[in-house]
């Protein structure tokens, strides 16, 4: 029981944060447990049995995570670098055009964008990824630009005045100081992508949307419920992870 002493020594200050981080996983665990108990209590027919088994659901969850994660990674790379470029002096003239394009990406309904890409290009995983990237691009672009623009001019002037190169100012001053706002944008994009990935099923990209769609089309409420609840649990888990990441990655001293 001596092990217990250490966390208790951290005292009151550590406790609330610890609880805050713990609350969401506990809640999501309970939801999953309730879902499992619900499914176990049902008499499943052959269709339901084919879908409501660990192997099938696990594959869909992985597909879903892949869709959301890969699209988010791509959009982070693209949108953050575009945001950096658009805040440099000299590119100011093209900024409105790029923002306009990103706006279109977000303004078009997501299902329309998905299907459009599928028709023009192909059905499957990658067209879905491109659609997700186009859809969440603006969230990160806008936050990157705002994040970089809100860095105090005098801080940058002091850095330049001490002989930091423009590149050093960007990577050592501007980006670190923009991190909290950029992270908020990434979190938004991630949530958008987790939600929108459910539509991936319509372009044959898999994901938890397949479960929901099957439930609706075959009139199996248990399947529909499992699909919906799992999507919700996944979205909340990823949001929780993102919030933890935000706390850890935020530069100290801000």
């Amino acid at each position: 029981m001596t092990v217990r002493q250490e966390p208790s020594e951290k005292g009151a200050a550590g406790a609330p944060r610890f609880l805050r981080y713990l609350g969401m996983p506990v809640f999501l665990g309970l939801v999953c447990l309730a879902l499992y108990l619900y499914v176990s209590s049902q008499q499943l027919d052959s269709i339901e049995k084919r879908i409501l088994n660990t192997g099938f659901l696990f594959s869909r969850v992985i597909e879903h995570i892949e869709l959301a994660a890969i699209s988010t990674v791509i959009v982070v790379v693209l949108a953050v670098s575009t945001g950096i470029l658009l805040t440099r002096p000299g590119t100011r003239r093209v900024t409105p055009a790029i923002i306009g394009l990103a706006n279109i990406g977000q303004a078009v309904p997501s299902i329309g964008l998905l299907v459009l890409f599928a028709i023009v290009w192909d059905f499957g995983f990658w067209p879905a990824i491109v659609a997700l990237v186009a859809y969440s691009f603006l969230a990160i672009l806008r936050n990157t630009m705002v994040g970089l623009q809100q860095v105090d001019r005098s801080t940058i002037e002091a850095a330049r005045g001490m002989g930091m190169t423009k590149t050093a100012v960007l990577f050592r001053i501007e980006l670190p100081l923009a991190v909290p706002i950029i992270l908020a944008g990434i979190r938004t994009a991630l949530i958008i992508n987790v939600g929108t990935a459910t539509l991936g099923t319509f372009v044959d990209a898999g994901g938890l949307g397949t479960v929901i769609d099957t439930g609706i089309r075959l009139g199996r409420d248990s399947v529909l419920i499992v699909g919906s609840v799992l999507t919700g649990v996944l979205a909340l888990s990823i949001d929780w992870l993102a919030s933890v990441a935000e706390d850890i990655l935020r530069p100290r001293g801000l």
Binding site: A158, G161, G163, M164, G253
Partner: protein
């Protein structure tokens, strides 16, 4: 070179910074911000660029480290033409302090100070030692090393800003209204501290301000700038105050230049008057005796640590019954030896019997100054200037014929 004309005869120091026909025209502006400016700044002096807002003083300063690239003209640093060298490398040789300080909020105090040494590739240990040394120099406790700027007060941040600028020991510091955003009391203290520091470090400093009083206090020489950074007068504070080159300078100095001039002399520079002192522990007879021998009507009582405590007059010690510690009047109107004459005079005016007690930095009695002493000091200031300008003092203070007398200096 016009600079030669105003060069102080005693000045033998090397030219640290030379600006040659410097101009700056910003794009999309008709008027140049700086036009054909030439000036020399000598090693180890504080040159203050002062002028109304929009006169181009900050632009001028930023051209020295080429944060603003000059449109034409040349800049020399330590004799080297730096107009075209790599500007990032140039800036690492020049300390830079701005009004907003611009500490990096996401870096610790130590990391902030280490910025330039790290860019110059110093070894870790050397950088770390330098950080400790600088924190000590600017009077910040070493425990602040790992704190973040937001945990510091305005005055502390300003000190760190100065420490950061001096990190790689650059020969030149550029300071853009460094004390502008600080409350008056702290500002005064930081100015004093900085002047003391400068006694040790002897940097060449270009200091920008819009406040003539700050310029007079900080500057070894002051350049008063008009629109487009045209130099109205470039000279010592004494000379600018007693001998403004033209109407613009006169207007800019504002009222009471002769009184302002007093702020340039310190109490420690003048002879304090001889005053009878006694101890709180002395007997009434001894006090009476001292009073009589000195011929003054009052005696100053000191405590056992030489701190001034009370003034006592003849009537206060007539009767032996009253304790010396309670008789007479409390000794107020105390000034430190490094106080300037302007503040001292102010203290004297509000004091009892028109005299101020001078103490050292540990509050120990040093002497007494009264109006007569200050007047004497003012008198000794006068002839020197008279010789220099060969003009009668009463005309100099009339403030009407200035331009005629100083025509040779006007530019």
């Amino acid at each position: 070179m016009t600079e030669e004309a105003i060069r102080d005869d005693k000045h033998t120091a090397e030219t640290m910074i030379r600006l040659e026909n410097l101009s700056k025209v910003f794009p999309a502006q008709d008027e140049p911000a700086v036009e054909d400016l030439s000036m020399d700044i000598y090693e180890g002096e504080i040159v203050v660029l002062v002028g109304p807002s929009g006169c181009g003083k900050t632009t001028t300063m930023k051209m020295i480290n080429r944060l603003i690239e000059p449109s034409s003209g040349r800049i020399f640093l330590e004799g080297e033409d730096v107009t075209k060298v790599n500007s990032d490398n140039l800036r690492r040789r020049i300390g830079y302090v701005i009004q907003q300080i611009g500490l990096f909020p996401h870096m610790t105090i130590a990391d902030n100070i280490a910025t330039v040494p790290r860019m110059l590739g110093w070894e870790k240990q050397r950088t770390s030692d330098r950080i400790d040394e600088l924190l000590e120099t600017v009077g910040i406790d070493l425990s602040y090393r790992d704190r973040y700027p937001k945990e510091l007060s305005g005055g502390q941040r300003q000190r760190i800003g100065v420490a950061r600028a001096m990190a790689a020991d650059p020969p030149v510091l550029l300071m853009d209204e460094p004390f502008g955003a600080i409350d008056p009391i702290t500002r005064d203290r930081l100015q004093d501290e900085f002047l003391r520091l400068q006694q040790e470090i002897k940097k060449t400093i270009v200091f920008v301000t819009h406040d003539i009083d700050e310029a007079v206090k900080m500057g070894d020489r002051i350049a008063i700038l008009q629109q487009r950074s045209k130099i109205a007068q470039y000279d010592t504070p004494e000379k600018i105050l007693t001998d403004p080159a033209n109407e613009f300078v006169q207007d800019f100095i504002g009222s009471g230049p002769s009184i302002k001039r007093l702020s340039l002399s310190r109490v420690s520079d003048i002879e304090t008057a001889d005053w009878p002192v006694a101890r709180l522990t002395d007997s009434h007879d001894e006090v009476r005796d001292k009073m009589q021998r000195s011929g003054k009507g009052y005696v100053l009582l000191l405590d056992d640590q030489d701190r001034p405590r009370r003034w006592v007059g003849a009537e206060d010690v007539e009767h032996d019954d009253a304790s010396l510690a309670e008789t007479g009047r409390p000794a107020v109107a105390i000034v430190e030896a490094n106080a300037n004459l302007y503040n001292t005079l102010d203290t004297m005016i509000t004091s009892y019997k028109g005299s101020a007690i001078v103490v050292d930095d540990e509050d120990r009695y040093q002497g007494v100054v009264d109006f007569a002493t200050v007047l004497e000091a003012i008198d000794t200031m006068r002839p020197r200037e008279q010789d220099r300008h060969m003009s009668p003092p009463e005309q100099r203070y009339s403030g009407t014929d200035q331009d005629l007398q100083t025509g040779g200096d006007g530019r």
